[in-house]
């Protein structure tokens, strides 16, 4: 048997040759420019982070990376667009995790979480509730006590569904009244707090410069675990809740994209996030730049979906 080609080994050899000569997607990918569709307007937190990552990502993948802004509906307009794109890994969706976990719950979205394959999570926002410096409470317990004693309604500046659900949930659990004051975007919330027009507001991180300057003070973190950049703040877990909400920047592709393409993208993104320039930018913008892979991203989003569902049901 040695040295001679018998049928079995011939078939084996032929199979290997054929398999090896078939185009392997992961090896070739990417062969043309990649477009990242950002679900928010240019200049915002999500946009600036993605643009900062686009350069290094293009280098690692050796292809151009184009960033497009399609804002509206909390990332929903962009989500619809990407869900309908070809699942070939050349159209990516960069948006906040709430687009998948929250928007379908509170709006009649035409897309759902199952229309996407999640590639990675690259940023965690440092969500917290903050109040004017002159507020008569410094932490969660004092806040609840204050409103219970005075019987006043808590006025919360609101622009995001996330914190609306959260504050509503907390209010019902604690037995206080809350009224929502609509504001325009994170900046509107900051302005409402600085002008002392509201009692509290939520922000994914832009609260930090104002608390540092003494104009405002953080009350508690809205995430389940403590925040990386603000470990002194009590988190939802500390306060006895089994849910938590903050927001992440997630990268996703249309469902049906080949797994090896997804993995290649995720690895490339991992290299980008460990880059020192990225971490420095993250620190400056008060965002935690990290990398969670496809599986972990799915878990993160599922946890958010559970949390939101629980809050939603409790507040109906």
């Amino acid at each position: 048997m040695s040295g001679t080609i018998n049928r079995r080994s011939f078939v084996a050899a032929a199979a290997i040759t054929i398999a090896g000569s078939m185009p392997s997607l992961a090896q070739d990918y990417p062969t043309k420019p990649i477009t990242i569709v950002v679900g928010y307007a240019a200049g915002g937190g999500t946009d600036v982070s993605i643009r900062a990552m686009a350069g290094p990502l293009a280098e690692i993948l050796d292809e151009r990376v184009l960033v497009q802004n399609v804002g509206g509906a909390g990332g929903g307009v962009a989500a619809v667009r990407v869900a309908a794109a070809e699942p070939d890994g050349y159209t990516l969706l960069a948006t906040t995790s709430s687009t998948f976990s929250l928007e379908p719950l509170v709006q009649q979205t035409v897309y759902s979480d199952s229309d996407f394959t999640h590639v990675a999570t690259v940023v965690q926002f440092q969500g917290a509730i903050f109040a004017p410096a002159s507020a008569p409470f410094d932490n969660y317990a004092e806040m609840i006590a204050h409103f219970k004693e005075t019987g006043r309604t808590l006025k919360h500046a609101n622009y995001f569904q996330l914190d609306k659900l959260l504050m509503d949930y907390i209010a019902r659990k604690e037995g206080i009244q809350v009224d929502f004051v609509p504001v325009q975007g994170g900046n509107g919330a900051v302005q409402a707090v600085l002008s002392e027009s509201v009692d509290t507001a939520y922000s994914g991180g832009s609260w930090s410069p104002h608390t540092q300057s003494g104009e405002a003070k953080p009350i508690f973190a809205t995430s389940y675990e403590r925040l990386v950049f603000a470990p002194e703040l009590e988190s939802m877990k500390d306060l006895g809740y089994d849910i938590g909400t903050t927001s992440y920047i997630t990268i996703s592709v249309p469902a049906g994209t080949p797994e090896d393409v997804v993995n290649k993208l995720s690895d490339a993104l991992k290299q980008v996030t460990v880059d020192e320039a990225m971490t420095t930018m993250g620190e400056q913008r008060f965002m935690e730049v990290q990398h969670w892979g496809p599986q972990e991203t799915v878990e993160l989003i599922n946890f958010e979906i559970e949390s939101f569902n629980e809050m939603f049901d409790a507040t109906r």
Binding site: G43, V77, K164, S213
Partner: protein
């Protein structure tokens, strides 16, 4: 401090930084002059490119684009009755009539000088008074803002043109169009008819470009069909040299208007969320009311152009006051600029002055340099544009339409925005044909969402208890002013005597006054 200023100057006067300032102002000016493109779009597109520049160069570049855009938008407003940006609508009111009188070059020069002066004055205010002013601005809550906005809305009566009733109607149409969006409180779509693109409201740019730019083209097409088309070159060629120059006396005569415009632009631009369109509109109205010849406004009064442009440009540095002092952007353009800051690792706010004082001084100096460069770029740009305008309309108008389509596409959510723009082109056409006021339409459309938001906020904060006004004296003052203004302005427009006085002077009357000044000068 002086050594910091000195080293800031050294940082500034490098080829890279100065080169980018010139480039930024130039790009801004040309983008502003093109209908359909506006500076927010330019900022959004060019922001990523600044990544590779040094922080000082990048920020001065972006600020330069802003300044250039505010000044350049006057060019097409004056020459073609097509505002380069929504904030130059008011400039068209008197700018275009001046062109029809052959005074286009005069108008352009006046607009440029007014723009630069407004810009410099506001920049000086920014540099010297940023922190205290920002504190004041941010201290204004929804209750004060509602009062200020109500006061502003009464001014609609003043710019409603000949028919007060028509002015109100178009203002209300504008308000109506401001209703489709996500409801601020519930977050539920309202009157969006299933269009996700309308969740943030009907895109302003699509509406503005359609009603202002395209409708004007439709009007000209219409005139052409009826054989009444008057080629604009007639205006330009018949211009006497007196009409092309801006004499020293004329300039000084418009100085009060320029100063009023600058003050208005600075104050309104400073308040987050109100915007440049409102400031030019209020400046125009103020100057018109204070003028000895208010009936000339709308027919080619130089003061109208001067006030509008000074306010428009002053609001640019003023809108940066809250950014620098607190880190709070009040409009899309300033939010983009702030994004630029943060992209380069700078956090605007009180700490910026503490931690990066040399950079901040350098930026301030850069802003002043940009004002000077604006003057030069403007001069050069006007020369170019007045020559470009002499090209045949059959070439120019398709180019304008093309630019409008691009603008609507970029800002209006793709083809949806383009379709919207076309719809509004016809809306604008009919508004023009039936002599409904444009300005009031846009005012209703722009102010509507602001008034709704701040009033709803005020009601929620106060639990619908009017007693809260006792704690907000500023709001009470503005409400009183609003009542006063509404009474005075509507009385002015509705009394038969006032109306006939306004109607008596035909177009020609505007000329003798101007010529008189020229004779004296010679």
């Amino acid at each position: 401090m002086f050594e910091q200023i000195a080293s800031a100057t050294v940082d500034l006067l490098t080829v890279e930084v100065m080169g980018y300032i010139v480039l930024g102002v130039t790009i801004g000016y040309f983008v502003g002059a093109m209908p359909g493109l506006n500076r927010a779009t330019a900022l959004a597109l060019l922001l990523p490119f600044t990544f590779t520049m040094s922080p000082l160069a990048a920020i001065c570049f972006l600020i330069g684009i802003n300044k250039g855009g505010a000044a350049g938008s006057a060019v097409s407003a004056i020459l073609m009755n097509v505002p380069g940006e929504p904030s130059s609508v008011v400039t068209t009111l008197d700018g275009y009539p001046m062109t029809r009188q052959g005074k286009s070059r005069k108008a352009l020069k006046l607009a440029l000088y007014a723009s630069v002066i407004g810009d410099i004055l506001a920049t000086i205010v920014l540099i010297m008074l940023a922190a205290p002013l920002a504190r004041l601005a941010v201290g204004l809550g929804p209750i004060e803002l509602s009062a200020i906005l109500l006061f502003a809305m009464t001014f609609i009566a003043a710019v409603s043109g000949r028919s007060f009733l028509k002015g109100i109607i178009s203002g209300l149409i504008g308000l109506l169009l401001a209703t489709p969006r996500l409801d601020p409180e519930t977050g539920m779509p309202r009157l969006t008819f299933g269009f996700m693109e309308l969740y943030d409201g009907i895109p302003l740019l699509a509406v503005a470009i359609g009603t202002l730019a395209l409708s004007e083209i439709l009007v000209q097409i219409d005139r052409g069909w009826r054989g009444r088309y008057s080629h604009k070159n007639e205006f330009l060629h018949s211009a006497s040299s007196a009409d092309s120059r801006l004499s020293g006396k004329e300039f000084l005569a418009s100085m009060p208007a320029i100063l009023r415009g600058s003050i208005t632009g600075t104050v309104i631009g400073l308040l987050p969320g109100l915007g440049a369109s409102l400031s030019s509109f209020l400046a125009y109205t103020w100057v018109k009311r204070a003028s000895k010849t208010p009936e000339l406004f709308g027919k080619g009064a130089p003061d109208g152009v001067a006030a509008a442009e000074a306010a428009d440009n002053a609001s640019v540095p003023a809108s940066l006051i809250p950014v620098f002092a607190i880190g709070l952007p009040g409009s899309l353009a300033t939010a983009l600029l702030m994004g630029g800051f943060m992209m380069h690792g700078l956090t605007p706010g009180p700490f910026l002055l503490r931690d990066n004082i040399e950079l901040v001084y350098a930026i301030f100096l850069g802003m002043l340099a940009a004002s000077g460069i604006l003057l030069m770029v403007g001069y050069f740009g006007q020369g170019v544009f007045t020559r470009v305008i002499t090209v045949r309309d059959t070439v120019i108008i398709p180019v304008i339409v093309f630019l409008c389509v691009i603008g609507a596409y970029l800002e209006g959510g793709g083809m949806f925005g383009v379709h919207l723009m076309l719809v509004f082109a016809f809306v604008g056409y009919f508004l023009k044909k039936f002599d409904f006021s444009f300005v009031t339409f846009l005012v209703g459309y722009i102010l509507g969402p602001m008034v709704e938001l701040s009033m709803r906020q005020a009601i929620i904060i106060s639990d619908a208890n009017p007693m809260i006004l006792l704690k907000h004296p500023v709001a009470v003052v503005f409400l009183a002013l609003a009542v006063l203004s509404a009474w005075r302005l509507s009385a002015m427009n509705m009394l038969p005597k006032a109306q006939s006085r306004a109607m008596k002077r035909p177009d020609g009357e505007a000329q003798p006054l101007a010529k008189k000044r020229d004779c004296e000068h010679r």
